[in-house]
């Protein structure tokens, strides 16, 4: 480089930001708005996909077994089911456990006596699948095993659920894609306009003998700073907003699954900063290039 220091570039960029203060503020606010929307979209995607995942993981297959099985047969059956492809967990609930649990939930300890000593509950296996789409296949194979009486897994509802979660995921991805594109467009258009308004300035620099590098760097750093400041405002808005929303949902809508992973939230916010500075710097550099041909 023909000039001596990064100090020069930085001071030029800062001075220029200050002297074009309203333009700078407008650009920073544009970056902030774009990245806020983008951040919201990412959290929306994360949560829709998490909701889909939670719903699907809650799908269980209930296998009711014949009355006459011995304890050894029960365990053998549980072992065989566990071997089936796509099975994540198999839990055995014996008839004794079932009635105890039921009594517990009813708040009475005398149910068995009231029924004349006959336990109406069958032994039961509860199967969860690694993927909700495998549930139907597992169910049909389990039905064929001897000792199995009835298999229930929410037939009819499951298909709808899979369809619903499928769309939920795609909508999330679509929203993120649309907002990424929109924010990219907004930021680069804004910074371009910003640089375009200084076409004359860039050309004068060329005419006075400044090299392209010498002209470009301060603009690039200026764009980067605009991106950074806009991103910092955006992560403040999104970070505080999302944390508040999480608190609200966790305390009031307890049934609703939400993504509250700290590391994930931090990563999204870092991604927003990175997008801001990259878009700011690149948009600036590209816009300046157009005027360097004099």
């Amino acid at each position: 480089m023909a000039f001596n220091s990064a100090g020069y570039i930085l001071s030029q960029a800062l001075v220029s930001l200050r002297r074009n203060i309203w333009l700078s503020i407008a650009s920073i606010l544009t970056v902030m708005t774009s990245l806020t929307l983008l951040g919201c979209a990412i959290f929306f995607l994360a949560n829709t996909s998490y909701i889909a995942q939670t719903f699907e993981s809650q799908v269980e297959i209930a296998v009711f077994l014949n009355e006459d099985l011995e304890k050894g047969q029960l365990e053998e059956l549980q072992g065989r089911v566990k071997q089936l492809e796509g099975v994540a967990t198999v839990t055995l609930t014996t008839k004794e456990q079932a009635i105890t649990e039921f009594q517990g939930s009813m708040g009475t300890g005398t149910l068995l006596e009231d029924l004349g000593g006959i336990n109406p509950f069958p032994d039961k296996l509860t199967i969860t699948a690694t993927d909700a789409r495998l549930v139907e296949g597992i169910a049909s194979r389990v039905t064929g095993i001897s000792g199995v009486n009835k298999v229930r897994y929410g037939q009819g509802i499951l298909e709808k659920l899979i369809m619903f979660t499928h769309w939920l995921r795609w909508i999330g991805i679509g929203v993120v894609a649309a907002f990424s594109f929109a924010s990219l467009l907004l930021i680069s258009l804004n910074i371009k306009t910003n640089v375009n308004s200084r076409e004359k300035e860039i050309q004068i620099m060329r005419l006075v003998g400044a090299s392209n590098t010498f002209i470009r760097w301060p603009f690039l750093i200026e764009g980067l700073l605009i991106g950074l400041l806009g991103a910092l405002l955006a992560i403040a808005v999104v970070g505080i907003g999302y944390t508040w929303l999480l608190q609200y949902i966790i305390t009031t809508l307890t049934f609703m699954p939400v993504v509250a992973n700290q590391q994930f939230i931090i990563n999204v916010l870092l991604l927003m900063i990175l997008s801001g500075i990259t878009m700011g710097a690149l948009a600036s550099a590209f816009s300046v290039r157009k005027f360097l041909n004099i």
Binding site: A2, F3, N4, Y8, S16, R19, N20, R198, K200, E201, I204, M205, R206, L207, V208, G209, A210, S211, N212, F214, L292, N293, I294
Partner: protein
Amino acid sequence: MIKVKNVSKIYPNGARALLNINLEIAKGEFVFLVGPSGAGKSTLIKLLYREETATRGQVIINNTNLMRLKSRQIPMVRRNIGVIFQDFKLLPNKTVFENIAFAQQVLGKSKKEIKENTLSIMELVGLAGKRGSFPSELSGGEQQRVCVARALINRPNLLIADEPTGNLDLETAWGIMELLDQVNKYGTTVIMATHALHIVEKMKKRVIRVEAGKITEDSMGRASTSGI
């Protein structure tokens, strides 16, 4: 030092600004370019620091053919040429001091050196009190002097001036002319386009008259009085 060979310039809109111009200017000369407005003086000048390129022909300065330069080589050539622009071309967001210093910053001079040189040239052109002013806060004459200072600060081999006294009162104009004359005496080649007949008459330098895109007169000492 400067050779202009068979140069024609036709703008994209079809305007024929220069037609087959041939010109040689030796190192250390002081040359006035005269002629009516729209005759092609400014175009000729713009070819010399490569703001414009010739449609045909060659412009050679110090053995470098300006028409064959790559984009990144252009700044190197311009650094040896000081230009006083007709419309000043000051950077609107920089102060008087920064505008003048900019020409030194592009050369990568040290901060201390830049400050010393800038302040001394500001003194020389009579801008000492305007250090922190922005171009929009200056009068036309003051802006012109900023432009003059910026053109001179790097002690260029070639000084090109397009109407450098156009906005100045008589006294300041002569001040600038003395400055250009002095710079010329130190060895800088000076090319100045002007309408100021009294200056041309009094300076007794080489005069090149451009009319309708052609050189119609190239004489020493005086300009014929018509149509300057």
